[in-house]
Symmetry: C2
Subunit: 227 residues, 2 copies
């Protein structure tokens, strides 16, 4: 191996895509799906960017981590780019998902057709409430949380959605991780601990609202009933 | 004004807290509330950090944007720090919130007690479905989306939650902005356009799952039924 090659390899290792890029890829993919639905088969980075409030330069830079796409002045083939991004995201595989917690929120999640999207499928429901056990919901039988340990490995489940009250979130996380889950989407309003190599992300609408009130309070007169 | 003062002022202007700091403050506040519930009244940045997977140094740096808190070796007074963070976030004021879209998701949102948290209160429900108009839900009467223009200003609503299908999200956003809303939490799986000065943030669980499949596919063998 000559020095040029070695340096090139080193550079590739150093340019692992940052997480912020990985997080934008699903938005690109979704936008490309909408384009296809509209019957649009070619798009410039400018046009794609306008649809998702990202600059054309940002899109080109993000995609450059994964190879060469599109041609200067011609734009991207929508179908090919979508296919490529879905492959990068691992969405050509089937990722069975467990949902823990079938209360009001969990029911809305189980019903939400967005979760029946490319690559993702909720295949098991768990709830600690004995009254719910055995009930059918959204085409699945609700299982006891104690069955996480046995059912998760059988279905090769690596990904789970947690929609339990905050006080149970850590216990459920521990059960899921012990059963082989490596990616958790946590709706409970609390930060959980998980071992290295397990990805935990949060859906935290109240925290998001509370961050926006900062800007509202700075820029606007709130209703003045405050302390 | 001497040059020293001018430089200090300049530095303050330059050290406006970045958005990522503003987004962490609600997590600090929540963790402090949990501490109070547990009867804990003093906490070190180390202990606080462990609860939310943030380093002690990060917490100290984040808080330093807003003044001096705690004393070296003594830690923070939980109640005082919470009060201070809530004031920074504008949560000592009352922010009435409109919810647009009362389908399965909207119903779960309207019922979710987390949204009846400090500073935030859903005060108006809108839905375009004539069959829903006039129905009571979560203590509120569902109004027609056409009433956004009149009801939002009357209630001084500056913040809204959008839980409508993707194809309606832009239209609803436009109505809300025209009625005086400056902060939108958008659950619809599409990026919307809003004028300068309007904050739009997204709750996008499918995009989050799709970003985690990237890491799963990289680190693990998926079920191999893929294309």
């Amino acid at each position: 191996m000559d020095i040029g090659k070695a340096e090139e390899t080193l550079e590739r290792i150093e340019t692992q895509p940052p997480d912020v890029v990985i997080r934008r890829l699903p938005l690109y993919a979704r936008s490309l799906r909408y384009l296809l639905q509209e019957g649009i088969h070619s798009v410039s980075s400018q046009e794609l960017g306008e649809r998702i409030n990202v600059t054309a330069a940002q899109i080109r830079k993000d995609l450059s981590y994964f190879g060469e796409f599109g041609k200067q002045g011609i734009g991207y083939d929508v179908e090919k780019l979508l296919d490529h991004i879905e492959r990068i995201l691992g969405l050509h595989h089937d990722w069975p998902v467990a949902l823990v917690g079938v209360g009001h929120l969990g029911q809305a999640i189980a019903r939400y057709e967005g979760f029946r999207s490319k690559g993702i499928r909720i295949v098991a429901l768990f709830d600690s409430d004995p009254a719910k056990r055995g009930q059918e919901f959204a085409g699945l039988t609700i299982l006891s949380s104690e069955q996480i340990a046995t059912v998760v490995p059988v279905h090769h489940i690596k990904m789970a959605i947690v929609a339990v009250p905050a006080i149970y979130a850590q216990g459920v996380t521990d059960l899921l991780v012990a059963a082989g889950v490596h990616a958790i989407l946590n709706y409970a309003p609390i930060t959980v601990r998980a071992p290295e190599g397990v990805w935990v992300r949060y859906i935290d609408p109240v925290a998001v609202l509370h961050s926006m009130t900062y800007y509202l309070a700075r820029d606007h007169n709130p209703m003045n009933n405050g302390a």
